[in-house]
């Protein structure tokens, strides 16, 4: 989460004090990402240095100092909103690596391993769903955050299901044919 851009977004609504920025940031992100006071003020200083926000003159530092967004700050914000997040990085998902490694480890039942992770993921999903179910229905920020996690976790569960189906089709039940010693050592290093 970029605090820098979240602060620009809050200032795009109009000038605000430092303390107000911190409170509104927390309110809008469902209080899931708490900020400390220091983070808000150091980020504001950097934004001012870069010409993206401007502060009131002569009011001193701290909670009472007022800030407003500049025109280049506005451009920075709209550019950021439209920039795709970094989803192109090569997959280094720890769970994927674990399953790949498990295929090479003698005596490991891969389907049982998939189920261990499936259960864990569903338990975490139950907690997010409960957050939505028991939270106030008008807390849109909280519901959006919970939904984002639920869809992400659901994707991982679906990957586990697909992995299970693929392994049933392509790998004999005995699985884990002992791999050559050298390659096994290399896999072991990957896990560390």
């Amino acid at each position: 989460m970029s605090i820098r851009h979240a602060l620009l977004a809050l200032l795009s609504e109009g000038p605000k004090y430092g303390l107000q920025l911190r409170q509104e940031f927390e309110a809008r992100t469902g209080e899931v990402w708490p900020l400390n006071v220091g983070q808000v003020y150091t980020t504001l200083q950097r934004l001012e240095r870069d010409g993206l926000v401007a502060s009131d003159d002569g009011e001193g530092e701290g909670p009472k100092k007022g800030y407003r967004i500049t025109s280049s700050g506005g451009r920075e914000l709209t550019d950021w909103l439209r920039t795709p997040p970094d989803t192109m990085a090569p997959p280094r998902d720890e769970l994927v690596i674990k399953v790949l490694v498990a295929l090479r480890v003698p005596g490991v039942d891969v389907h049982e391993l998939l189920q261990v992770h499936r259960r864990h993921l569903v338990e975490v999903m139950q907690r997010y769903t409960r957050l939505k179910a028991e939270g106030p229905e008008d807390d849109v920020g909280l519901a959006l955050v919970a939904d984002a996690e639920l869809y992400r976790l659901e994707g991982v569960v679906r990957w586990l299901d697909a992995a299970g189906a693929r392994l049933r089709k392509h790998v004999a039940p005995e699985v884990a044919q002992p791999a050559p010693v050298r390659s096994r050592t290399r896999k072991a290093e990957v896990t560390r």
């Binding site: 899931v32 499936r118 569903v122 338990e123 997010y128 957050l131 869809y151 299901d161």
Partner: protein, 241 residues
């Protein structure tokens, strides 16, 4: 506390000889009043068989099914049919509403079949619809309702009267995410009022509405979730409510 639904060593085999298929193997499952349990598994894992056997729409090949402290196989056929009408509510993916009846008539039909007077049944039907936010749609026919509204009518029909056990097969399958979530909120609320609920699904999001998720593979229960910690465990900095 006696569980409202108890399955003991339930197995189900379809066909014989080379065509023999085992759908369920040695299933033990307890569901308490007030509890919502999700049975999660891929296609062909036996989920739907488990649900129809729990709802006495089908009999197990071996094993026992207890509903509200009564062993189903000990009951006379008529008694079992009455219990099915009175105590068990079903919600299906495709709603299964009768097209020639209004929403209120669809909901009150099981009560009327059970001998409740038409007037009292209709009042109960409209009451159940009103609770689900559909009071003004009571006189509408199913084809005049949206998918979300039809499923709410089906839920009203499943909870009307003194139902103790609510069984749902992919109840949000045909709905978008907003209507699907609304349906799950209603099922969860119905269970909190003391009904025992079982939903079967392959969908992890849907299953995550349950108090407990039971995983079914090849007709066997292979695992289940432990009671989840409260949502506050996700928000270390959020003060406990």
């Amino acid at each position: 506390m006696t569980p409202l639904l108890a399955l003991r060593a339930v197995s189900k085999v379809y066909g014989t000889g080379v065509a023999e298929v085992t759908a369920l193997r040695d299933i033990d499952l307890d569901v308490d009043a007030g509890e919502l349990v999700a049975i999660m598994g891929p296609s062909g894992s036996g989920k739907s068989s488990l649900l129809t056997i729990a709802g006495s729409l089908e009999e197990p090949t071996t094993g026992e099914v207890w509903v509200d402290g009564t062993l189903l196989s000990d009951m006379a056929r008529n008694d079992r049919a009455r219990m099915r009408r009175r105590s068990i509510g079903y919600v299906f993916q495709d709603f299964n509403l009768l097209p020639g009846l209004t929403a209120a008539e669809n909901v009150s039909l099981p009560l009327e079949l059970d001998g409740v007077s038409a007037k009292a049944a209709r009042a109960a039907g409209v009451g159940a619809l009103t609770e689900l936010g559909l009071g003004d749609r009571a006189a509408s026919f199913p084809d005049e309702l949206s998918g979300g509204e039809r499923q709410r009518v089906a839920i009203a029909r499943a909870v009307v009267g003194e139902r103790r056990l609510l069984l749902a097969d992919e109840p949000t399958g045909a709905l978008d995410s907003v209507n699907g979530e609304a349906v799950m909120r209603l099922l969860r609320t119905a269970c909190k009022r003391g009904v025992a609920g079982v939903i079967v699904t392959h969908d992890a999001q849907l299953a995550s509405w349950a108090d407990r998720v039971v995983f079914l593979r090849d007709g066997r229960i292979v695992d289940q979730t432990v009671a989840p910690a409260g949502p506050e465990s996700l928000l270390a900095s959020r003060p406990a409510q």
